[in-house]
Amino acid sequence: MSVYDKIFKPKVYTLPNGNSVEKKASRAPVYFIFIILMSALSVKITGFDMKVLTQRIGQFFVIVGEMFPPNADFMGKVWGPLFDTIKMSLLGSVVGALLSVPFAMLASTNVCPNKVIVSIVRVMFSLIRTLPTLVTALVATLVFGLGTLAGTFAIAVFSFAYIGKLTYEEIETVDMGAFEAMEAMGATKARAFISAIVPQVLPFFLSNCLFNFEGNVRYAAVLGYVGAGGIGLILNEKISWREYSSVGMMLIALFVAVFVIESISRMLRKKLV
């Protein structure tokens, strides 16, 4: 019986025939009050104002309007940075995913018997995941200098932690029967892992990698903002110069690129799983 049930006593229903049943006090009012209080606090701190929003939201669409028609001549200058963005996320995703594999194995209780190592690797994964990618990218620009290398590094770090976590969860849910059978036939642990566990995990691993890559293409567009290369750099430049029709062109190019990549990736993932 939890503390909450001691403070708010359960309600007892007694039927005419003498049978009775207890209903624990509902938690819903607590959640409700919490959400209301939190919203009130947030409105106060962020200065949320419905009046400003309704009066001035038009400004948002004025900018959207200026993006159309997009400046088609500008497209020539978009290709390079757009492909840089895609290359950056592709390389970063692959490097990060490959590096994560040995660590993911160390983080799975059914592969690594040492509990200390398992928890150390897991803490490492979740610490790296808390690090905002933009901060990694910023640090990387300071370490490696401005350019796509910094962006690639930041994406690799994120992919490492993201894929690593998904992979060890996948390895843990694997059916160990085949692994045992291999060991019983006299295979070493490494052999048994390769023949019995890899085929089970591989499709999910590849599918996760593709999904991660999709997301990274979109995210890589942001990284240019801190100087880590790609389309974000010129996007930021054109916005500050208020050349919205060029911005519109870039956004359309990005949309098409993301659409194509997502379609291919979804098709491949459907085949895999």
Partner: protein
């Protein structure tokens, strides 16, 4: 009283689900409907509360022509007919009592329905219904945490709460193991005897049908081929109903498909 007079049912694709059905069921009967998969058992049961339409003939329940109803009248008509499904059809993400309480919703004012506010009497009524099927203790547990048999009893309690005169049960025990199936059938029997509710049940287990029902209706290819007391069902009758697919001990050989698609 449920009365079928030369009822037929033709599906849009031309398949005849029911052919010339004549059947009268008095209040308080316990009728088991048996037959092969696809013979029309489900269709027969579902025409009674008009989940399916009939295309010819006349079907009346307590003198009301079912096909004449629509909209609000139809919904009010359905209130007095309870229905039990093979897959329980509970709202799994909410508590058992809330599932039972939903049966009061159609009669509630809209604002109470909107916020899901139930009166004390309604809650007591719901609890009594749960008590009748023996799962009062589970009243405030989430429905998806119960076993299949318990979930089917919740469904039964939900149906009881709407005070039905008739309960239609479409393969209620097909998804349950033999022991729980027997318990659920006992519940049906008790409800039938104590509350004088007519029960029409579609069932694949011939042994259960013969043991619990007072009357057995056998259907084959959309036609009634047997209608009589359970005691008179013998090997020959079963052979007729099941197209001869019965072994020497009277066991039906069609055990592969419990799921009528129609």
């Amino acid at each position: 009283m449920i009365k079928f007079e030369d009822v037929g049912k033709k599906y849009p694709n031309g398949f005849e689900g029911l052919k010339h059905i004549d059947l009268t069921i008095e209040q308080g009967e316990f009728v088991a409907i048996i037959g092969l998969s696809g013979a029309g058992k489900s269709t027969l049961i579902r025409t009674i509360n008009r989940m399916h339409d009939v295309t010819s003939g006349k079907l009346t329940v307590d003198g009301v022509d079912v096909m004449s109803l629509s909209g609000k009248q139809l919904r009010r008509f359905r209130r007095k007919i309870g229905m039990i499904f093979q897959s329980f059809n509970l709202i799994t993400r909410t508590t058992v009592i809330n599932n039972v309480l939903t049966s009061f919703v159609p009669d509630m004012p809209w604002f109470r329905a909107l916020f899901g506010i139930y009166t004390r009497e309604e809650k007591m009524k719901a609890l009594e219904c749960l008590d009748k099927v023996g799962i009062l203790r589970k009243a405030f547990v989430r429905a998806d945490q119960l076993s299949g048999g318990q979930q089917q009893r919740v469904a039964l309690a939900r149906t009881l709460a709407q005070n039905p005169q008739i309960i239609l049960a479409d393969e209620p025990v097909a998804a349950l193991d033999p022991v729980t199936a027997k318990q659920v059938m006992d519940d049906f029997k008790r409800i039938n005897e104590e509350m004088n509710i007519s029960i029409l049940i579609n069932i694949h287990h011939v042994d259960l049908a013969l043991k619990y029902a007072t009357r057995v209706v056998g259907i084959r290819e959309g036609k009634i081929v047997y209608d009589g007391p359970a005691e008179n069902v013998d090997k020959d009758v079963l052979a007729t109903i099941y197209n001869g697919k019965v072994d020497d001990e009277g066991n039906v050989l069609d055990a592969n498909d419990h799921n009528e698609m129609r």
